[in-house]
């Protein structure tokens, strides 16, 4: 099979996903357009050699609707022969898009393919696309649907993480992100977002709160307690599925959960010949990819299982991995992953994550793949495993290896 190599990886800075966020005035098509243009301009490739652009987007309706990937291709002035497809694997969409781009290269379908994603959460709010899962009574009953925050709190309860455990994790994420920014560790990948007159509107991650300490986190009220214990009472549904739990301890809040932000990302994947054609040095090889399904009510324990699967696909063990990058959807998700696979904290999310910098749903997967690739290069390390927990109990993971 053809090897797939990463030739470039870019992301926008993440803007607060609110009306006063810096990227709120920027349309999602602009975010996607600008990362595609950056890939083209940084590598100097002829876009006619890009066979397909796969973009993740989790709320693909309204101005993110109707295959935003193809429209971004046209809007970025790519060759009109380049196809585009929008996909949705919830929070792992950006990584899944990259995996699909890589698979296209590996299978010979594509010479170059771009994987990435876009989400303007300030303009197209989460849940705008409806969902049979949550809304169709027969399906919600069958799957014991409860929002992710309930699953995150259930993980903390079931696996023994206290409020101070999750808050301490969040504080460390903020500290690491602040340090990474101050040392310029992301500079190779950040593409500042520009407005219609060409001015930069955002050049850094806007969501970070580097001053966060245990006291400020401790003052935040649990975010999912009311919906869990009162209206509509999702905790009782969780206990139908996990009757061995007496009571869910609601430990998560805005400060130890991923931030709601706007952003986009793109990764250029290609075969060996394409790199040679343009004199591009392959930054890493895609060594293995996997997706899994697991119990959907707790929803967010998939990273453990997808990591095992992707390691097995690669013929590796966890000790062969130099750096882990797991999306910080909620602090308990990462803590459980570290506990399940016995991974030391200094090998995972070493430059912080979505708790500090935010989680633009469709784009995050490709963003954190780029982040860990930068870190491998900075530290001279070789292998990284990237994964995300995914709605409805899924997980998606990728192992990359520097050449």
């Amino acid at each position: 099979m053809t090897e797939a190599y990463i030739y470039d990886a870019v992301r926008t800075p993440r803007g607060k996903g609110r009306k006063d966020g810096k990227l709120h005035e920027i349309t999602p098509i602009q975010l996607a357009t600008q990362v595609l243009q950056a890939v083209r301009d940084r590598t100097g490739i002829n876009t006619a050699d890009v066979d397909d652009v796969v973009l993740g987007c989790v709320s693909p309706v309204g101005e993110q609707g109707s295959d935003i990937a193809r429209v971004a291709v046209l809007n970025a002035d790519y060759a009109e022969t380049t196809a585009g497809v929008q996909i949705n694997r919830f929070c792992a969409s950006g990584l899944e898009a990259t995996n699909m781009a890589a698979a296209k290269v590996m299978s010979g379908e594509a010479m170059f393919a771009i994987g990435g994603g876009v989400e303007s959460m300030s303009r197209v709010p989460m849940g705008s696309d409806g969902a049979a899962w949550a809304m169709d009574p027969a399906v919600a009953y069958k799957t014991y649907f409860a929002p992710q925050g309930i699953g995150a709190d259930l993980i903390a309860t079931k696996y023994g993480f206290s409020r101070s455990d999750v808050d301490a994790y969040a504080m460390e994420s903020q500290r690491r992100a602040a340090q990474a920014w101050s040392e310029g560790r992301f500079k190779n990948s950040i593409v500042p977002v520009r407005d219609v007159i060409g001015e930069i509107v955002l050049a850094h991650d806007e969501h970070m709160r580097p001053q966060t300490d245990m006291q400020s986190l401790g003052s935040l009220a649990p975010a999912f307690q009311a919906m869990g214990e009162q209206m509509p009472g999702f905790d009782a549904i969780a206990l139908m599925r996990y009757p061995e739990i007496e009571k869910i301890d609601h430990v998560h809040h805005g400060g130890n959960s991923s931030g709601i932000v706007d952003g986009a990302s793109a990764i250029l994947v290609g075969n060996k010949a394409m790199g040679e054609k343009y004199g591009l040095k392959p930054r890493a090889r895609i060594r293995a990819m996997a997706s899994i399904g697991s119990e959907p009510m707790i929803m967010l324990t998939g990273p453990e299982f997808v990591a095992q699967k992707v390691l097995q696909r690669a013929g590796m063990t966890k000790d062969d991995i130099d750096l882990f990058e797991l999306n910080e959807a909620f602090a308990s998700v990462v803590l459980r992953f570290m506990q399940a696979l016995n991974i030391p904290h200094d090998k995972i999310n070493v430059n912080g994550g979505a708790i500090a910098m935010g989680h633009p749903l469709g784009a995050t997967g490709a963003m954190i793949l780029g982040t860990v690739l930068d870190e491998l290069e900075r530290t001279g390390k070789g292998t990284a495993l990237v994964n995300l927990c995914v709605g409805a109990g899924m997980g998606t993971g990728t192992i990359i290896e520097r050449i």
Partner: protein, 727 residues
């Protein structure tokens, strides 16, 4: 065929349709009603001289009460299946008929107004909703609603579709899922009614509307510019999405995984409101067919409606005995039970002599009624009339003139014998004496009364004013007059009676005890305590076995255990739960009463399971935990086998008594229709196989009685046997 809808055409060309089902005090939907309505619709469509119609009732009792639940048996599993049709498709055809008929009414092309003189429930309200205009008599006592869910059904004649289109999805779901009624004024506010006028003007108002609206024969939802109240019914309307995300979760939490109807109602409304009415009513009928195809609705209707009403109307009353009304009771013991009995008795208009050892205790018992009536905000003058019926005393002489004695003193034979004799000395042995004992066999207690034929058990549940059941216990020598007297009294205080024969713990205490005991056994084996409690609740029991034991008091459980051990001697079989209770007793953990039992009861906070529980009573959690399904099976089948034993031993004479006693006495999963309905539904052979497996794994307490094996061999069921016996 007799006429069920009378027609009368007036000079304005308005056809008055008066529903008046012959031989019934209240209109219900019969085949005749449907045939007459179909004929009327045909006239409306074809006769050009007719301008419109007004639908009303000829009964003073109300408009219509919906389907005749007793007559619905044919729907449930009965009836043949035509060739080339699946069972479900045939069932659909059966239930869609009425739905389609009402759709024909609202699309007949002429304005139809409903003139509603009284209550309209279930199908009765659905008739009205299919009219184009609804005028209701101005009487706040009139109830309008779709209560089908209360018996495991749901509205199958357009109710799940028209109500949301009239009042909005969210409020409609509330009425559909809670079976709540609305008053005429509320109906007006919600747009379910268009006018509320004095009762004598409803027909004139309805006719005036028909006359003034010759083009009124079209429903809003059949017009192009129809807007669903509360916003469009589409997945992309966040409000619509939120209603179903939240509504489904709340319903799932309340009904658990056990009930078919709430889930079906949600789906019918979710799917139906997104499509035009012709498609919507087909969807509704499909969900309705699914619900009635499952034995659950039939079981619930039989127990919660048919058997309950029959029991209250005297199904178990001995034949040929004249009514034996009670005028004055002597209530021995003014504790929690005696005080509660005094309250419900006085409320029923019966005099009560409330006797305790000293006057202060008796007066405290009377205060119980005063406090509760005040809490209910009863008019003080009315409350005083009730209170005046209760005479607190410590003097047995005051019992003179009582025609029924109820005893609720301490559960020891000696004390009970003393008060029994002291009472007989005043009132004589011809008065009926009822003991409220919950554990001591009646036959033994009856020895203290010179005429044991007049001695009976009248077992109330706590708190008396809230618990609907009374268990009548027939001792070996109890005579038919005592049974008749007790049943007439229970009817007077408006409770539901069951009649059982004497045995230790009778029926309800004995079988309910097994639920608690099995919970304790699981606990003693090192099962995660929360698993036991959650599964107990999730299987439909009102509370977990450990929680209920804490409420009863662990010290009491210990004492009852010791008494039983002493009474039975060598016949006592120690159970795996004994060790748990003994250990808790040694530690002084009594339950809620001293704020420490299986749970911890922090002052002002919510109770939580004692963290040391498993370590203390089981030496820690077992390494291999049972699955939730295994825990459920044990908690359920331990009760089922005890119920079957009660039947086999003759404690129970009918499955109806067994089902009613279980549901209303100890809250046994109402959705099953009771333990006997449940065993019939599972199939007796399957019940025996499960019990044999459980007995093998966990001990003789699960061993099925010979009766079940014989029934399984014959392919028999409890209700089939009961039907044969009745025939």
């Amino acid at each position: 065929m007799t006429t069920a809808i009378h027609t009368e055409l007036d000079a304005d060309g308005i056809l008055l349709l008066t529903i008046d089902v012959p031989g019934q005090s209240m209109n219900v939907i019969t085949p005749e009603v449907q045939a007459d309505l179909a004929a009327a619709i045909e006239r409306l469509k074809t006769d050009e001289t007719i301008k419109g119609a007004v639908l009303t009732s000829g009964k003073a009792s109300g408009f219509m009460a919906g389907a005749d639940l007793k007559g619905m048996g044919a729907l449930f599993g009965g009836g043949g299946v035509p060739e080339g049709k699946s069972k479900m498709a045939a069932l659909f055809d059966g239930v869609f008929g009425l739905n389609k008929l009402l759709r024909d009414l609202e699309t007949c092309g002429k304005p139809v107004a409903a003139a509603v003189n009284g209550l309209a429930l279930g199908g009765g309200l659905e008739f009205i909703l299919a009219c184009h205009y609804r005028v209701i008599a101005d009487n706040p006592k009139i109830t309008l609603g779709l209560p089908e869910i209360m018996v495991g059904l749901f509205p199958g004649a357009g109710g799940t579709q028209r109500l949301p289109r009239l009042m909005g999805i969210q409020p409609a779901l509330m009425y559909l899922l809670q079976g709540k009624n609305m008053s005429p004024k509320e109906a007006l506010g919600f747009g379910v009614a268009q006018a509320v006028v004095p009762a004598d003007q409803i027909i004139a108002t309805a006719k005036a509307w028909v006359k003034a609206n010759p083009n009124g024969g079209i429903q809003p939802w059949d017009t192009k510019n129809f807007k669903m109240p509360g916003g469009p019914a589409t997945a992309l309307n966040p409000n619509f999405a939120q209603i179903f995300v939240g509504g489904t979760a709340m319903t799932h939490v309340n009904a658990g995984d056990n009930m078919n109807a709430p889930k079906a109602i949600l789906s019918a409304v979710y799917e139906g409101t997104q499509v035009p009415m012709d498609t919507a009513i087909r969807i509704e009928s499909k969900y309705f067919a699914k619900v009635v195809a499952d034995p659950q609705a039939g079981n619930m209707i039989r127990s919660l409606f048919v058997s309950k009403q029959a029991a209250e109307k005297g199904a178990r009353r001995p034949k040929g005995i004249a009514p034996m009304p009670t005028k004055k009771i002597g209530m021995l013991g003014a504790g929690l039970m005696g005080a509660g009995v005094a309250m419900v008795t006085a409320q029923a208009g019966i005099e009560v002599v409330l006797l305790d050892r000293d006057l202060a205790a008796a007066e405290k018992g009377k205060q119980y009624t005063a406090d509760r009536l005040a809490k209910k905000r009863m008019d003080p003058a009315k409350a005083q009339i009730i209170l005046d019926r209760i005479k607190p005393t410590s003097d047995y002489a005051d019992l003179a003139g009582c025609d029924l004695i109820i005893e609720a003193v301490f559960e020891t034979r000696e004390i009970k014998a003393d008060v029994t004799k002291a009472t007989e000395a005043v009132v004589g042995p011809d008065v009926i004496f009822g003991s409220n004992t919950s554990t001591l066999p009646i036959t033994g207690l009856a020895k203290a009364w010179s005429k044991p034929a007049n001695f009976i058990g009248i077992h109330f549940f706590s708190p008396v004013e809230r618990m609907p059941l009374v268990e009548i216990i027939v001792g070996k020598e109890t005579g038919p007059e005592a049974i008749a007297k007790a049943l007439d009294y229970v009817a007077a205080i408006r409770k539901t009676p069951i009649v059982v024969n004497d045995s230790r713990g009778f029926y309800t205490s004995r079988c309910f005890g097994t639920y608690v005991q099995e919970g304790l056994s699981l606990l003693g084996e090192g099962t995660v305590p929360a698993l036991i409690e959650n599964v107990g609740k999730q299987m439909g029991m009102p509370v977990g076995p450990l929680a209920v034991n804490d409420e009863v008091g662990l010290d009491l459980s210990y004492k009852v255990g010791q008494q039983t051990k002493a009474d039975l001697g060598d016949a006592y079989k120690p159970g795996p739960a004994d060790g748990v209770i003994t250990k808790m007793h040694e530690l002084g953990r009594q339950g809620r009463k001293n704020a420490k039992g299986f749970y911890v009861y922090p002052e002002g906070g919510k109770k939580y399971l004692w963290p040391e529980l498993a370590a203390t009573v089981a030496g820690g959690l077992a390494a291999d935990q049972p699955s939730a399904a295994e825990v459920k099976e044990r908690l359920l089948y331990r009760q089922l086998v005890e119920c079957a034993r009660c039947f086999a031993e003759g404690v129970l004479e009918t499955p109806q008594d067994g089902d009613l006693g279980a549901i209303f006495g100890w809250g046994f999963a109402p959705f099953t229709g009771g333990p006997f309905s449940h065993m019939d539904t599972v199939g007796i052979a399957n019940v025996v196989a499960t019990l044999d497996r459980l007995a093998q794994a966990h001990g003789e307490r699960f061993a099925p009685p010979q009766l079940l094996r014989d029934m399984a061999a014959r392919g028999d069921s409890f209700y089939a046997m009961a039907a044969k016996q009745a025939a």
